[in-house]
């Protein structure tokens, strides 16, 4: 068994990858048993792997080796603190787990002052733009107008979006109401921009999987079975035809017409 694994590891890896790829893509057609099985395999692997990883990359080098190997015995208290989490299973003493949760939440809450400074102060600084500069004025009235218009537009957007997120002011005043609905308009432009900018990245994910199938898996298959290159186009055509036939048979129940 172990010899078999050692000898055939690359081939098994390749085939397993291909199998998993097809299993996951099968959900695009329809939920099925094949997908369901691999969903559970994935779950088991992810859990088992994080178990292994946590021990061998964090606990062992940072805790066990330091405590037992180097003899820093005080690290034993880390286990005491760690055990406090498990009091959540006791109805009576659940509060002890809240104690350690509290410590951790406190630690992360305490970082907020630095975080606010390091992240938002430079942002504030970058927002403080001059309404006009001598260089721009020297370039002539047209350049000045364009520059000033750009800066003003920036502030209109910035302040109107901030005003959309005011919660405690009754948005009755015409000014605030107009500003807040303007803010929502600009929000939509911003979200459209994010959507548009995201498409590209997601497509490359598929390209990555495809590259694997074509550059790694298919050559291996072709090398193993010479007749495969004749079968592959037939398989693809059959798959497409199958889907089209399936669609013809039964109109798909999803996709209600959009509601207003």
């Amino acid at each position: 068994m172990s010899k078999f694994i050692t000898e055939h590891a690359p081939a098994i890896t390749l085939w397993a990858s291909a199998l998993c790829t097809f299993a996951v893509y099968s959900i695009l057609y329809k939920e099925n048993k094949f997908y369901r099985f691999f969903e559970h395999v994935f779950l088991g692997l992810a859990t088992g792997y994080s178990f292994y990883l946590t021990w061998s990359l964090v606990m062992k080098p940072r805790w066990w080796d330091v405590m037992v190997g180097k003899g820093v015995w005080a690290w034993a208290f880390a286990a005491v603190f760690g055990s406090m989490f498990y009091f959540m299973y006791s109805k009576k003493h659940a509060w002890i787990s809240k104690l350690i949760f509290g410590l951790f939440m406190g630690l992360s809450a305490g970082g907020i002052f630095r975080e606010f400074y390091e992240i938002y102060f430079p942002q504030l600084g970058a927002t403080m733009r001059p309404l006009a500069t001598n260089e721009v004025i020297a370039e002539g009235p047209w350049a000045t107008t364009v520059y000033v218009a750009g800066v003003l537009l920036f502030y209109v957007i910035l302040f109107s979006v901030i005003s959309y997120f005011f919660f405690s002011f009754e948005q009755k005043g015409k000014m605030i109401k107009a500003s807040s609905s303007l803010g929502r308009t600009f929000l939509m432009i911003g979200f459209g921009a994010i959507f548009g900018a995201t498409v590209m990245g997601r497509m490359t994910l598929f390209i990555g999987r495809f590259n694997f199938l074509v550059n790694n898996w298919a050559p291996q298959v072709a090398a193993d079975w010479h007749w495969f290159k004749y079968v592959l186009p037939i398989l693809v055509i059959a798959a497409v035809a199958g889907i089209i036939l399936a669609l013809k048979k039964k109109p798909v129940e999803t996709e209600e017409p959009p509601t207003e």
């Binding site: 695009l28 057609y29 990883l53 990359l57 964090v58 630095r114 975080e115 390091e118 992240i119 430079p122 942002q123 600084g125 970058a126 921009a193 994010i194 900018a197 995201t198 498409v199 590209m200 990245g201 997601r202 497509m203 490359t204 994910l205 598929f206 390209i207 990555g208 495809f210 590259n211 074509v214 497409v240 889907i243 669609l247 798909v252 999803t254 996709e255 017409p257 959009p258």
Partner: protein, 278 residues
């Protein structure tokens, strides 16, 4: 044909067409690179080009197999540029499988360009993703955080990593990432220790980076694989058949396809609306 049907094309047909549209350019592999180079790519190029020779670039690899199509071309072109200019760099991976992937990229270039491991570059191996904590501690005491390299060789035995003591020896951070690590680098390393950063996000994360580019907190950016293909033009590989160029073509086609779909959907929507009014 009933135009109304255009607003309810079955998802599975959309999916198959998408696959065809993306796959075709990957087979054809055109060599043409984009003509225009965006400013942030040019700035990234200049920042790396102007790094003082006595400092070391820190390449942070956050990507793994999931975003290999975007992040590997970026890693490849940046390492190539660093090698070409004889800038020294160290690589650290925050992603387990990304460790070997990035090591292989460096190793292949090292052989191609005749560089020397341990002197021109070094791979520090893998750290679990506690970027905030490790980057902060690394700025205080570099050697304490990293004892061995990718091959478990002590850093002290190699000329390049042995001389890095603290943040003062690091001339630039290059963060090649599919997630929001840029903010962490800014807050815990580049901000406090005043080190410039070039970010190479996946296209998804790039929109978030623009405010930081504008404020000057981030010196430059390679926006996904398109950024990588523009960078290739900058380092004089504009007419080579590269992975980046083929992918850029694929992406172009996919974008046009989606826009066509949106248009078709709206034609169907309008047609259906007119019918309803009658």
């Amino acid at each position: 044909m009933n135009l109304k049907k255009l607003q309810n094309i079955d998802k599975r047909i959309l999916y198959i067409l998408l696959a065809i549209v993306i796959v075709t350019p990957l087979f054809v592999r055109p060599s043409k690179h984009p003509d225009a180079v965006f400013d942030e790519v040019q700035n990234a190029f200049n920042t790396i080009d102007n790094m003082p020779d006595d400092k070391v670039a820190f390449v942070s690899i956050v990507w793994g197999p999931g975003t290999i199509a975007e992040n590997r071309p970026q890693t490849e072109v940046l390492m190539r540029h660093l090698f070409m200019k004889h800038k020294k760099f160290v690589v650290l991976s925050w992603d387990m499988p990304g460790t070997k992937l990035s090591y292989d990229v460096g190793k292949a270039l090292e052989e191609e360009l005749g560089m020397e491991y341990g002197k021109d570059w070094c791979h520090l191996g893998y750290r679990p993703a506690y970027v905030a904590m490790i980057s902060r501690a690394m700025g205080e005491d570099f050697q304490k955080q990293f004892a061995e390299d990718y091959n478990n060789k002590p850093l002290k035995e190699m000329p390049l990593p042995a001389k890095i003591k603290s943040a003062k020896d690091i001339g630039i951070v290059i963060d090649i990432t599919p997630s929001a690590t840029m903010g962490t680098w800014l807050a815990y390393f580049c901000g406090p220790y005043n080190v410039p950063i070039v970010t190479c996000p996946t296209a998804v994360m790039s929109a978030e980076a623009y405010p930081y580019l504008d404020s000057g907190q981030v010196s430059g950016m390679l926006n996904g694989v398109i950024g990588a293909s523009m960078y290739e033009t900058l380092i004089g590989r504009g007419n080579t058949r590269t992975e980046a160029a083929a992918t850029a073509w694929s992406l172009s086609c996919a974008h046009i396809y989606i826009i066509l779909l949106i248009v078709l959907g709206n034609i169907g929507y309008i047609a259906a609306g007119k019918k309803a009014k009658r």
